[in-house]
Every structure is written in C-alpha cells, then in structure tokens.
C-alpha cells in the first residue's frame, strides 16, 4: 500500500501517471512534508512496474523539488514546498477539461456550468466559499 493514492490505467504512460499522482499528493498535502516516500522497490512492487521506471519517477520528482534524498534515511517529501494557487489550479485542469467538454456536448451554456458548480459546493461545504490563503 502506498501512502498516496494512485491508480494506473492502461493507455497512458505509467511514468507520467505516477509522477502526476505523486505531484498531486505532495501539493495537496496528502503527503506531508518530511514524510518518507516509497523506495524504488516498494513503488515497483506496489504498482507492478519496472524498477527502472520507478527510478525515473523518483528522479523526476527530486528534480522538480518535490522530494529530497537524505543520506541514511532515504527519500522524503521535501518540506517547504508549497503549491501556489496557479499550480493547484493546474492540478485540477483534467477535471475542468472533462466538465467543460461534457457540458458543451450536452448543449449547456457556460453559466449553466458555473451555477451547477456553485450549487453542489454549497450542498457539500455550506456557504463557505473560502479557500486556503495562498502563501504567495
């Protein structure tokens, strides 16, 4: 079991999918700063991927500054890495894309979409329209 949620689907590069899921997890706080990140072996076993691919994933995440390697401890989530609002918005881009395209197919207008979003938000979270304050 991995400390972040990832579910691989066929059709897309496993490497990209994992990088994306891990990035999402770090930026959303699902993986807290300083938490240990799975080793190459653990990633490979849990997701049934080539250890080489797991290696590449971790290398990329380190390169992007999401993980750091501490000698003697292993790979951990880098602390002090906060996602900007724009980064977080970018993480939502896939879902936004789906929503917009599907609405267009059904012949709905832009306002229909925003109204629907607002209605559902209120149902789930009440009138609280606030967001976490961006640090930057």
């Amino acid at each position: 079991m991995l400390p972040f949620s990832v579910s691989l689907t066929a059709g897309e590069s496993p490497y990209r999918q994992i990088v994306y899921a891990a990035t999402r997890a770090v930026l959303s706080g699902e993986l807290s700063p300083g938490a240990p990140f799975p080793s190459v072996r653990e990633l490979s076993q849990a997701l049934r991927i080539n250890p080489n691919t797991a290696q590449k994933v971790i290398a990329e995440l380190v390169r992007e500054g999401l993980l750091e390697v501490r000698p003697g401890i292993g790979t951990i989530v880098k602390s002090g890495r906060r996602a900007s609002a724009s980064e977080r918005r970018r993480l939502l881009s896939r879902e936004v894309e789906q929503l917009v395209v599907e609405a267009k197919r059904l012949g709905l207008a832009r306002d229909d979409v925003t109204n629907a979003v607002e209605a559902r938000w209120n149902e789930l979270f009440g009138d609280d329209a606030g967001s976490r304050r961006s640090v930057r």
Partner: protein, 305 residues
Amino acid sequence: MNAVDVQGLTYRYGQTVALDHLDLVIPAGSIYALLGPNGSGKTTLLQLLTGLRRARQGRATVLGVDSSALSHRDRARIGYVAEGQSLPRWMRLEQLEAYLAPLYPTWDRTLAAELRARFGLKADRKVGALSRGDHMKAALLCALAPRPQLLIMDEPFTGIDVAVRDDLVRGLLASAGSEGWTVLVCSHDVEEVELLADHVGFLSAGRLLLSEPADDLRQRFRRVTVLLEDSSAPPDLAPEWLAVDRAGQLLSFIMPNASDDLVARTLPQRFPDARHIDVSATSLRDVFIAMARSGAATRPTGAVA
C-alpha cells in the same frame, strides 16, 4: 550496448517460414514485451536467441555473443523460462536447486530462499507433483536465482491463474538487481505486461510490425470517436486508420500516428460537420487487437493523415 541484436534472421520448418528476415534490437536494461498472435514465430525466435535452434540465414547476437555459438559460460548469464520446458520430474525442489547452483557462478542462495518463500514453494516437494502454476514458479525461481543479465520468458502466463500471475510478476520485480538487467517477455497476455514493459514489439507471420518504447506507442495511437450529423456526407477515411467502426451517428477508429498537433488540425478538417470529436488514449490491448486484425505494418511516420 544492446542486450539482443537480430539482423535478417530467417528460420523455416520445412516449407513454412517461421521468421522472415527479422530485425530486432532490445536495449540493455529494458523490459521488452514481444506480442503477437499464435504461430507468429515468437517461440521460434526465443529458441533461436537461446541457441536451442540454429538459423539458416541471418544473425542473432545475445549479450554480445552470437547465439549459435553460446558457450556454457555465456549461458550462465542468461535465464530462460518457457511454457513447455520440462524440469526433471523426479527431483525435489531442493535437489533441483542443488543441481543448478554449482553451474552458475552468480547463483544467489538468499534470493532463491526469498523467492521460494514468496512463491510459497516447499523445498521437499517433487517437481512432478507440482501444479501448473507452482511448476512455473519453480522454473522462474531457477531462472532468477542466478541473477541473469538477460531473462527470456516464453509465454509464462499461459494456463496460470490470476493470483499466480501476480506472484510471478512480483517475484520477477523483486529480483531485479541493482546492476540492471534486461527482460524479454513473450506473451499473449497484453494486460499482464502492459504496465510492466517499457519496450514493445509486435510479431506477425514472422515479421516485426513494430518495435518501440511503450510510451511512444501510447503517444501515437489514439482512439477517436466522432459524432456525426445525420446529414453529413460519408466520412473521408484515411487508409492507415485501424479498427474503423460505424454505428448510427457514431464513428470510431484508431489513429496510429497521432500527435497533438495532428489531432487538433486534421480531424476538424476531415469531419467539418461533426457535432463532437472525442480523442482518448488507447490501451496496448486495443492497439494490438487492431493490429492483429489489420496485419499491416504501421511504423511511426510523420505523414499527414
């Protein structure tokens, strides 16, 4: 260096041509999945690579050595697991390991014990009494324990149930050495190898229809679904599209050479009246079904659709 390098390889069984001037390169350190329908020549190719058969024409180089001249020292670096391979039925598992261990300078007893535990195999069971799944596990154990530089597997999943397949794959991944190794897997079972392989090849009637990194393959094959208007003219289909299917107002096909640019530009051109064009990723499974049905070579090209 390439782990495997095949050039112009041809092999015949009497009149039947099993491999037809085959060229294949497997880069070192990759997991290469060789897919293809029955009778496409996969087993023959693997037997040629391990020196079990000799080719009349062409050349196959394995770990830098000509496959028809593999010495016993070379074989110590190559692991081979095949569906029909017979382990000595009378030996107990521990006897089998004791027989094989001295033959390999790099036999790792700890790994062997770990795999035995992971696979749930008892050391005192006779090989002949093993179920099919356990037999395959034992064969894989014998191939992995020497920490080979090249592992060749011919249909390791056939007739094996899902849980055992999972064990096999995990055992395989757990044995990956830190130095890196190359794995060549030949299977009908696309789904099992889909996420595992980083290189993919498709063999049909003795010819390699494609061979490229899996990610590239996923990039360029896209499934397109077009919702047409009732009144629109008959669709203008490109000849290289695969699995073209039409029902009612929906038209579906697979583009073999898609790129973001191509998709964005050409599809609206071809289907100006379409109400909606949906482009999505295809699984390798869909790609190969489509290819098996079409049988046509679809090498990556830069052609405009």
